[in-house]
């Protein structure tokens, strides 16, 4: 190797060795740097897997009553209370009719997660669509926002009762009692919780659409559809993310309130929210019965929140470069 070769080598521009990578790779790289998001994401994955396949690992029937083994405490209570009634057969204890808490958490989690996600996504898509349309197209603003006011002022309980009266029989006949009720509940929760998202997205769009980059995009003839997709939506992603996290929690809790009022799932159909609500009168004797489902809801919401944080950072080109 000669001296000249070395010189030339030093003078040479570094040729990009990697192929030009896509925007999504950048997004992923940025996302990976966000520890909270990674943890949140993996926890969410874990909890989702647990409720999906947990039933095949922990095979006790959640509805099986075993009155002799009622009020069993979780196994960990034995650490500080040697006299506590604990059994390895019921690691998280049983309720006042002897139903296994772990099995109920697994099955209940599946319903709660499904209700939470579907209702949240439904609410988010309605809310974002209406918000964007109202904010961007001035002619639609009035009618859509007055419609939002209307839905905001409808009392939810009579609305539900009407929905149950009108649709339950058909849905039960078509999809069976549980799936039918699921569709009904998800529908009602979704349809009654998009308004805040819509108003917030609209308010952001109102401010954004007067900004220079939008004016510029419009002046070079970008179609409204493209402006909304390429320029507006990425800029309203953070309030949408916040709405999503809050929406998930709201959906899970609303479902429990509905069961509480007797318009929700059939009573032999556990959900986290319902387990929590049922356990409240006994919370001083059996704190675990409120703690476990409460913790499950909180941790799920928390992990979605961190995931949302990470996604927002990853999707924001201003942050991504740094």
């Amino acid at each position: 190797m000669t001296e000249q070769d070395q010189k030339i080598e030093a003078l040479q521009d570094a040729v990009p060795t990697d192929p030009p990578h896509s925007q999504w790779k950048d997004v992923w790289d940025q996302f990976r740097k966000h520890k909270g998001a990674l943890m949140g994401g993996s926890f969410l994955l874990l909890i989702t897997l647990a409720v999906l396949i947990g039933e095949y690992v922990w095979t006790i029937d959640p509805q099986k009553l075993d009155i002799r083994n009622k009020d069993v405490r979780p196994i960990y209570t034995a650490i500080w209370n040697g006299d506590a009634k604990v059994q390895w057969a019921h690691p998280l204890g049983t309720d006042n009719l002897g139903r296994d808490a772990l099995a109920n958490l697994i099955v209940g989690g599946r319903t709660s997660m499904a209700v939470g996600w579907v209702a949240m996504i439904l609410a988010l898509s309605i809310g974002t669509t209406i918000g964007v349309l109202a904010g961007y197209f001035r002619r639609l603003d009035g009618p859509l926002m007055r419609f939002t006011d209307l839905v905001l002022s409808l009392p939810i309980l009579p609305l539900l009762l009407v929905a149950v009266t009108l649709f339950r029989e058909q849905l039960r006949a078509t999809f069976g009692p549980e799936t039918g009720m699921f569709i009904l509940i998800v529908g009602v929760v979704g349809v009654t919780s998009w308004m805040q998202t819509a108003r917030i997205v609209r308010s952001e769009i109102l401010a954004l659409k007067e900004r220079e980059f939008i004016v510029a995009a419009r002046s070079i003839g970008t179609t409204p559809g493209a402006i909304i997709r390429r320029h507006l939506l990425p800029n309203v992603i953070s309030p949408i993310m916040v709405s999503a996290t809050l929406g998930l929690a709201i959906a899970i809790i609303t479902e429990s309130a509905l069961s509480f009022l007797g318009v929700g799932f059939p009573p032999d159909f556990p959900t986290w929210g319902k387990m929590l609500a049922d356990a409240v009168p006994r919370m001083d004797q059996f704190p675990e019965r409120v703690m476990l489902p409460g913790l499950a809801i909180s941790l799920t919401v928390l992990s979605v929140n961190y995931l949302g944080d990470g996604l927002r950072d990853a999707l924001d080109p201003r942050i991504r470069g740094r």
Binding site: Q63, A173, P177, F260, G262, V263, P267, D268
Partner: protein
């Protein structure tokens, strides 16, 4: 000597009089909490228990039922009977005599005109009186003299104690309500919120659906009572919170109707501030069997009507097996504790009316299985019995309530052990117990195979209660789904007994008839499967004395005797 004793007597009288007067109001303040808040203090405009009981502190009837179900005079001198001549031999009239010297809380005298006015008020055709059934069959009310009033019936009444008896039909003041007859009744807000009465307390302030402030009635007939000068009647919240406020924090002195699971109540009682008390009435939690077909495939005019008999519940073997599979003792243990007793009777009390029907008290799953086998209901591969293509698959509905949902879970499990599949449904109580003919979810419409709720009867006589199960009295589309024969039960022999009971005044025969009818509905036909004789649990603080729990009348019936235990 004479003078001396006179003097002594005078001294004693003056010494005693202030003492007697000092008694009223000497114990300060008492707090009552009802987890259902009173909306109005006029029982004629609202049938709600909370309204009747809160009003019972202020307005009183001529007579009440005591904790044993016996009749005791309140405003009346005595309870009229055939024996004392108060009730005519032919049972078509009853004559009440008021105590003399009675005063309304505003100081004016109580007269028989007030009693007559009360009847006019409730019987006014446009008034929408909630207690109209109490005045059923009343032809006229006549004032005989200032203190005597005579009620005429249009037919012989074996039980003439409907009007003016019990917390549901108290006497209201004619002067106050004179302009409130008929359609004007709801406009008299001041009178409805603060009726002038004869009871131990008078209303100072009424906040609807929230709180009532009361103070001792200065004109109460017993100068020594009530012991409390003031009273707060708080409403709202839930049974748990009410129980906690009496038993654990001691903020309140009396909590009504603590429908709580026994372990929850026991834990609260450990708080040591108060004591739960229980008493039994006629309230029975039961399973009602639908004798007609509730299938959604039928059209609206046929579904759940007598035109379509139920595909499998019309078989008595199935109904009996469903009853045999239930362990009522366990239900009581889980749901009611000391406030419940397993029962096989629709009429569990008073004792004279209760049949000694105890066959159902022991669970017999093997026997139930055998009976179904014998009846041809063969076990299918999916664990559900079937016969001629009809599967024993039951839709079981009830109102939303923690104890009822526990019962549903338990009963579902037992039924699965005899090869019966159960789908559970719980419904909002205000829809389930409402009579909206447009809703598919009312208990009258009964679009389910089995439903569970509790019912009882007013007072101590079950005649009206047993008469509900008459052929043709069932809810049906033609009657806008109103009707009381929820099971769509129909037996001509039973109808004959109803008529006979309506004619009989001899008490022994009445007891016998009632028992026979009760058995026809329960152990002979299993149309109704009684589960639990539900008592009433209330709680009072350890410093509140004189409480006697009464399930046949208002719980606050003897509030004038309540006092502070020092």
């Amino acid at each position: 000597m004479k003078i001396q004793s006179l003097l002594l007597g005078a001294v004693a009288a003056t010494a005693l009089a202030p003492a007697a007067f000092a008694e009223r109001g000497s114990d300060g303040h008492v707090n009552i909490i009802y987890w259902q808040a009173p909306s109005i203090l006029n029982p004629f405009l609202s049938g709600g228990t909370k309204d009747i009981e809160s009003a019972s502190l202020v307005i009183e009837p001529l007579g009440r039922y005591d904790p044993n179900g016996a009749l005791v005079p309140f405003l009346a001198e005595e309870i009229p009977t055939v024996a004392n001549g108060g009730v005519s031999e032919d049972l078509t009239s009853i004559t009440w005599k008021l105590k003399s010297g009675l005063k309304w809380s505003d100081g004016s005298a109580v007269t028989s005109a007030d009693v007559k006015f009360t009847a006019e008020y409730c019987m006014h055709p446009e008034g929408g009186c909630a207690q109209l059934a109490k005045f059923d069959g009343v032809e006229s009310v006549e004032v005989v003299d200032d203190l005597t009033v005579k009620v005429m019936f249009n037919e012989p009444k074996p039980n003439p104690y409907g009007p003016f008896m019990g917390g549901q039909s108290p006497i209201i003041q004619a002067a106050q309500f004179a302009d409130c007859l008929g359609a004007k009744a709801p406009e008299c807000t001041d009178a409805n919120f603060a009726p002038i009465g004869t009871g131990p307390f008078v209303v100072d302030e009424f906040k609807p659906n929230d709180v009532i402030s009361m103070s001792a009635n200065p004109n109460y007939r017993d100068p020594a009572k009530p012991a409390f000068a003031t009273l707060t009647f708080k409403g709202g919240g839930d049974a748990t919170a009410a129980g906690r406020a009496v038993l654990e924090t001691g903020e309140f002195d009396y909590a009504w109707n603590l429908q709580l699971a026994p372990d929850v109540l026991a834990k609260m009682a450990e708080g040591g501030k108060g004591t739960p008390i229980a008493a039994f009435g006629s309230l029975v939690e039961r399973l009602e069997m639908n004798m007609t077909d509730p299938s959604p495939d039928l059209d609206a005019d046929t579904r759940s009507t007598v035109k379509a008999p139920h595909p499998f519940l019309s078989d008595i073997n199935v109904r009996k097996a469903l009853s045999m599979a239930i362990d009522r003792n366990l239900l009581v243990e889980v749901g009611y504790g000391q406030a419940g007793r397993p029962t096989c009777n629709l009429v569990p009390g008073p004792a004279v009316y209760a049949s000694d029907n105890t066959d159902c008290l022991t669970q017999d799953i093997a026997g139930a299985n055998k009976m179904l086998d014998d009846a041809g209901w063969a076990m299918g591969s999916d664990g559900v019995r079937a016969k001629d293509g009809v599967r024993l698959s039951i839709l079981y509905q009830t109102s939303t309530n923690a104890v009822r949902q526990d019962f549903q879970a338990l009963i579902k499990q037992w039924w699965s052990e005899i090869g019966v599949e159960t789908e559970l449904r719980n419904l909002n109580a205000s829809v389930f117990f409402g009579g909206d003919p447009g809703s598919p979810d009312t208990y009258q419409k009964f679009y389910a195979d089995v439903e569970m709720y509790a019912n009882n009867f007013d007072g101590t006589d079950p005649q009206a209660y047993l008469s509900m199960y008459r052929c043709g009295n069932e809810p049906k589309p033609e009657s806008q789904w109103q009707g009381e024969n929820i099971n769509r039960f129909c037996d001509p022999a039973y109808d004959k007994l109803i008529d006979e009971l309506g004619r009989t005044s001899d008490l022994e025969t009445r007891y016998k008839l009632a028992k026979q009818m009760n058995e026809m509905l329960t152990k002979e036909s299993y149309t109704i499967i009684p589960l639990v004789d539900r008592g009433r649990v209330s709680a009072h603080s350890n410093t509140l004395g004189g409480v006697v729990l009464n399930t046949w009348d208002s719980e606050l019936w003897n509030a004038s005797d309540w006092h502070r235990v020092k």
